[in-house]
């Protein structure tokens, strides 16, 4: 894990290479995080890949409800030779949830970006096929959002088919 000084150096180099990219650095529980501008995610990850962080371990979505900007996307980068991890975070508002996709240059992000789109409604521009992955294709809403109610999923059983589908409304 990079120590807090190493994290600051990494963030500074990233800020010099890509001006107005780095918003904040967080060092928490022996783990470094760089918060960046959503639009700059592609070049920022490329910059870190050149630094040795060449393995994208995980991409996950977070809903920071009720804070704004609400939706977050985290990229867990791993340097296998130095055994080093760093997290890149970005936040997008709910009314404009657009993030450039990193799938073309990091093929591992394909399924995970689709999952975040499915669960949180973050739109990854440039993704080769941004479709729902876990929920049914005709599903409405993004169930992992914090204000999405739990339970109450209407299920139509064959025995009730004759009564119609009005009860689901």
């Amino acid at each position: 894990m990079p120590d807090s000084v190493g994290l600051e150096l990494l963030a500074q180099e990233l800020g010099e290479a890509q001006p107005h990219t780095v918003l904040q650095t967080v060092y928490f529980r022996d783990k470094g995080t760089i918060v960046i501008e959503p639009a700059a995610i592609g070049p920022a990850l490329e910059h870190l890949r050149a630094k040795g962080f060449s393995f994208l371990a995980s991409v996950h979505g977070v809903d920071y409800y009720p804070e704004e900007p609400r939706l977050g996307v985290h990229y867990e980068l791993l340097d296998m030779s130095a055994v080093d991890r760093v997290t890149i975070k970005l936040r997008v508002p709910l009314d404009n949830p657009h993030v450039p996709s990193v799938t073309p240059s990091w093929p591992t992000a394909d399924h995970q970006e689709r999952e975040i789109y499915d669960m949180f409604g973050v739109i990854f521009d440039g993704h080769p096929s941004l479709r729902r992955i876990l929920m049914p294709e005709d599903y409405e809403g993004h169930p992992q959002r914090r204000d999405f109610p739990i339970g109450g999923e209407p299920v139509l059983f064959t025995i009730h088919e004759a009564e119609g589908t009005a009860y689901t409304q």
């Binding site: 296998m80 991890r85 729902r132 876990l134 169930p143 739990i150």
Partner: protein
């Protein structure tokens, strides 16, 4: 005799008179070049769960493949947000249902990191023993079902016989055969009962010879060799781009294993090797997993030999339940018990990603706490979910029969993929 000879030669003459030209023309017919889209699954015995594959075939050759998943999505991550931390453990265990100790440990590890909680050494060793038993169990299920896919039906019974011994050990230590809820935040649920260690030693003494038998049965078998050796390889660089970890990556020659690379849970106390392959074909994937069984047995024996005395769960009363006998005498213990059971413990706000090496690769648990007693977000980076993306590059251009063998060697667990 002489009539036989003439009859044969007449037959040969007749055979030679047949011209194959029309058949060869038929081979280049455009009809034959047509692509066929075949739907495999979701209910198919060779997909190891409810996995649906849309396969585009040209004759028998796979040209394109698209996995369609989500059939057993049960919203475990959403459910976890509505439960206090200690009640989340049983639901996350049900994600990858062959690696429940790993799921529980990844979640507990993330929570312990957020709490900055020390885990007693005895608990760490007990966790290691159970996780390695779980790894052997998972590999046995994989070996049995994969051999079934290749047509070796008896392997399935042998592997499940040994798996049963491990499940008996789980049942004795925790009361459950599967989804044991043994690993708790701060330690393990209970100390192992009397007689358990002897039973475990009995198991570890016979497991290597059992694995030898399985290797003898399969590794020199002509059919297995032809189905696996040199089939559907994928280079290390491709695997890294696709985020593949675990035995699949090690089969391609990359010795990345989190137990060695960044030891957690006192894995650095044990002496074990990381089996790696050379070609990255199905044979290497098979050989790496079988070799891992022996290494896991070695780890278990060392952990049992060096099992430290002492507490098996943290004595932090704000996190772990007080011992039962204290409830009758101590008011404070009663209050702690009541608070823990009703509300649960509160976790300082923050975010944490905790990766462990599961039988299928890097299993990472991301937990975000908002300071309350329920996690604000739990996300599992499930290795099967990520590794599944490698199916298409592995099998493109190979026969559909090899697709079945590759899928078996990929070892996806759909409960983990769909969560």
């Amino acid at each position: 005799m002489s009539t036989d000879v003439t009859r044969t030669s007449e037959y040969r003459q007749m055979e030679e008179s047949i011209t194959m030209a029309p058949l060869e023309r038929l081979g280049s017919n455009e009809l034959d070049q047509e692509l066929l889209t075949l739907n495999m699954g979701p209910h198919h015995p060779a997909t190891h769960g409810v996995l649906r594959l849309l396969v585009t075939l040209e004759g028998e050759v796979v040209r394109d493949l698209q996995p369609i998943i989500g059939y057993v999505h049960t919203g475990i991550e959403k459910t976890a947000e509505d439960k206090s931390y200690w009640k989340v453990i049983p639901v996350v265990e049900r994600m990858d249902y062959l690696a429940y100790y790993f799921n529980a440990y990844a979640f507990c590890g993330a929570t312990e990191t957020l709490l900055e909680l020390e885990v007693p050494p005895r608990a760490q060793y007990l966790r290691v023993i159970h996780m390695e038993l779980n790894r052997i169990m998972s590999h046995l299920v994989w070996l049995g079902t994969s051999a079934l896919d290749l047509g070796a039906i008896s392997m399935f019974w042998y592997c499940f016989r040994d798996r049963e011994l491990i499940l008996d050990l789980f049942e004795q230590s925790s009361g459950q055969r599967m989804h044991t809820r043994y690993i708790q935040v701060g330690g393990v649920a209970e100390d192992v009962p009397r007689g358990w260690a002897e039973k475990l030693r009995e198991f570890t003494s016979q497991m290597p010879s059992r694995a030898d038998q399985y290797k003898d049965l399969l590794a020199n078998n002509e059919i297995v060799l032809q189905r696996l050796r040199g089939v559907c390889p994928l280079a290390e660089e491709e695997l890294l781009k696709l985020g593949v970890t675990g035995p699949l990556l090690r089969a391609a020659g990359n010795p990345w294993d989190l137990r060695k690379a960044s030891p957690y849970c006192s894995y650095d106390h044990f002496d074990f090797k990381i089996p790696v392959g050379a070609e990255g074909d199905n044979w290497d994937r098979f050989a790496v997993r079988v070799a891992e069984i022996y290494e896991s047995v070695k780890i278990i024996e060392q952990a049992l030999d060096g099992l430290p005395e002492g507490a098996w769960i943290t004595d932090d009363r704000k996190v772990a339940l007080p011992p039962r006998h204290e409830l009758a005498t101590s008011m404070e213990a009663l209050i702690h018990h009541f608070k823990l059971v009703t509300e649960g413990f509160r976790v300082p706000p923050g975010e944490c990603y905790f990766p462990v090496e599961s039988p299928r690769g890097e299993l990472g648990c991301f937990v975000r706490s908002d300071g309350s007693s329920k996690p604000a977000r739990v996300h599992m980076r499930d290795p099967s979910f990520v590794n599944l993306q490698a199916t298409a590059p592995m099998t493109e251009g190979s026969y559909i029969a090899d697709l079945i063998a590759t899928l078996a060697m990929l070892d996806p667990v759909l409960g983990g993929i769909d969560r």
